[in-house]
Amino acid sequence: MIDTLAFVVFPYVAVALVLIVTPYRYFSDRFSYSSFSSELLQRKGLFWGSVAWHYGVILILLAHLAALLAPGAWAALISEPTRLYVLEVTGLALALATVAGMVVLIGRRLFLPRVASVTTRWDWVVLFVLLAQVALGFWVALFYRWGSDWYLHTAVPWIVSLATLNPQTQFVASLPILVQIHMLGGFVLLALFPFTRLVHMITFPVTYLWRPYQVVIWNRRRRVVP
């Protein structure tokens, strides 16, 4: 029962929230659709916090995603021990960077009054869930070897079963509790995503790369001029 709630109902609720609330917020309150930079008020610590955090977490997320989307290629990649070790050590180092980065970011908001004054309650929720999630991930990677392998036989089939609307909890039901919490933590973040500053992820401005430098808007005719 509790397994069904945690590993079936909750993930579906989280995804439903993302699918419904994310566009709703975009169309009803686009003004709020961004992160909320505090760099103007306080540059101190931001470089070590923000850069370490973002680069670390992006790479780690991409690795999770790659293994999920291409389990075959991933299995082939880690089939050779050296590659497995390199991957795991890199992962650990990145995880450490994210933990350290998040600690710095939280420290800024705790101890620097200017940043504290622009921090909302939701910011605290997001920060602590993120810290817990990356710290847990680091812990799991360190003490439950080799994550990049067993991930393919636990989380991946579970998520695939959810995605194919044929939910199977047996892949994850008997895992150690810390691993389970880490997996559910991902869905907690998904559920938080549409309500918090996390939405800034999908506003990452890649279009800048092919947009002309200058933006000119016509009233009398529609045209964009380079």
Binding site: V51, W53, L209
Partner: protein, 508 residues
């Protein structure tokens, strides 16, 4: 030829008295909200001085504007390339911090009423408007260096004096410490804006019909690159809403036929606004000209509104006759192009600013000797003492050239010849202590005719409100018709306007 229209501006610095009325007008209308306390869309600086934010002209530090890449023959943002923007998006290494402006504060006035009885007067301590904490020392404020704040530090740290000689520096500080003039600044609504180009979200745009540069508050995602991209530091980050904001050239006022607030309120009447026609095909060339030709290249891009070819091209581009007429009456066209008196501020930043300045005449080189004030050429005959004001100005031509012509002293000198010739001409007419030969000599030197000198004098000293502010008709109705051809414009009456339909507050 791609003719477009641009609302453009001239500030006549000889008339600025440094009273900050413009600043107050702007502040009261647009930036009296939380998060905007430190924003001065209009500010008045004392020059030579460090300005606001401190040393904004130092692009080694702030990385604003464009640079010409000699190898590739390309124009690049000094800040970084497009990939660099995405790579640095989590932390902009060149962003000014609030300390480069000042931490806004108010006072704990309540204490004046509620303090317990005691032997001392109660005081109202300063309270930070950001953190709400007491501030014991206030180290900077909105016009902290006004009139140089009684200190040589500000003038000494002016980035335009980096190449100055010892003598030039000494002259600035010679009589009673120092000489200075005022430089009021608003957004230049540039033709090649650095802020627009630096914004990865594409939230900043230039309105094609009038050239006003605006930031869409709904599209701004707080990547804060525009603040660095603008070399004039005229985009500001609202720390309370997490959005960038800037001078909007009071477009709601322009659209209802009024001049912008800072123009309207200007006590010295130094400000002129009017339409110019320019050739958009020449923007790139003008922005890439060699340093010493930047001013001329920008002047060349501005077109003669009386030229039949230009008028025909303007009509082809859908510019209504009412606007062409406004361009013909524009005081800006006269100052910038016909008389060549007004120059862009720091053309070396290559953003092609559309606000132009008539440079001020400084006091001439002088000495304090035996407690008396002596100009250097006091004894000389004829035009010499008056013209001495140029090469012997206590604020050197080189300094002015650094501000207004990317270092080309000839351009600044030409402007000063004209300004001096107008004075000599009028002196000949009214005081009559200059001979006609000297007047003619001065006019010839300046390349002006008597009637031109007269016209410059009139538009400088005696212009009416209508002559200073030729606000072009905005033709919103034709715009609506073009966007919604099926709709009768009258049905849209009162349905468009300005302002937020919702408060600019974060609700999520």
């Amino acid at each position: 030829m791609d003719i477009r229209s641009h609302v453009s501006m001239v500030f006549h610095l000889d008339k600025c008295i440094g009273c900050h009325t413009c600043t107050v007008a702007c502040k009261n209308i647009w930036t009296d909200r939380k998060g905007t306390e430190y924003m001065y869309w209009n500010n008045v600086e004392t020059k030579p001085g460090t300005g606001y934010p401190t040393r904004w002209e130092d692009q080694e530090q702030y990385r604003g504007g464009w640079v010409l890449d000699e190898k590739g023959g390309k124009l690049k943002l000094r800040l970084q390339g497009k990939w660099g923007t995405l790579a640095n998006i989590f932390y902009n290494p060149y962003l000014p911090s609030i300390d480069d402006y000042f931490e806004p504060w108010t006072y704990d006035y309540q204490n004046l009423f509620t303090a317990p009885e005691g032997d001392d007067q109660p005081t109202a301590r300063a309270v930070s408007q950001i953190t709400g904490r007491y501030m014991d020392t206030i180290e900077a404020g909105p016009n902290w260096d006004d009139d140089l704040g009684g200190s040589p530090v500000y003038a000494d740290n002016d980035p335009n004096l980096d190449g100055a000689t010892e003598e030039e520096r000494r002259q600035i500080a010679e009589i009673d410490r120092t000489v200075f003039f005022y430089l009021p600044r608003i957004c230049n609504h540039c033709l090649n804006p650095g802020c627009v180009a630096a914004c990865p979200a594409g939230a900043i745009y230039k309105r094609a019909e009038d050239g006003i540069v605006l930031i869409s508050q709904d599209k701004c995602r707080a990547w804060r690159m525009c603040i660095s991209g603008c070399p004039y530091k005229k985009t500001y980050f609202n720390w309370s809403t997490g959005k960038s904001e800037k001078c909007i050239l009071c477009y709601p006022r322009l659209e209802s036929g009024q001049p912008p607030a800072c123009f309207h309120s200007c006590v010295g009447r130094i400000r002129y606004i009017g339409l110019v026609l320019y050739d958009a095909d020449m923007i790139q060339e003008a922005a890439m000209a060699p340093s010493d030709q930047l001013v001329d290249a920008q002047r060349a891009a501005i077109q003669d509104p009386f030229d039949p070819m230009v008028i025909a091209a303007a009509r082809r581009n859908g510019i209504p006759d009412s606007k062409i007429q406004a361009a013909q009456n524009s005081p800006v066209y006269k100052f910038v192009k016909r008389w060549g008196l007004a120059l862009p501020l720091h053309p070396d930043f290559r953003t092609l600013p559309m606000l132009f300045y008539v440079p001020p005449l400084g006091p001439v080189t002088s000495k304090m000797e035996n407690g008396a004030y002596e100009t250097v050429d006091a004894g000389a005959e004829g035009l010499a003492p008056m013209l001495a004001a140029l090469d012997k100005s206590r604020v050197s031509l080189r300094y002015m050239a650094s501000l207004f012509s990317a270092g080309n002293e000839d351009i600044v000198r030409e402007v000063y010849y004209k300004l001096m010739a107008v004075r000599i001409y009028m002196r000949g007419k009214t005081v009559q202590d200059v001979t006609q030969a000297e007047v003619d000599e001065a006019l010839a030197l300046a390349g002006l005719s008597g009637s031109e000198a007269e016209a410059i004098f009139r538009l400088t000293s005696l212009p009416t409100y209508e002559e200073r502010f030729v606000v072009p008709p905005m033709e919103r109705e034709t715009a609506i018709q073009a966007q919604f051809p099926d709709i009768d414009p009258l049905t849209r009456k009162a349905s468009t306007g300005f302002g937020f339909r919702e408060d600019p507050a974060r609700r999520w």
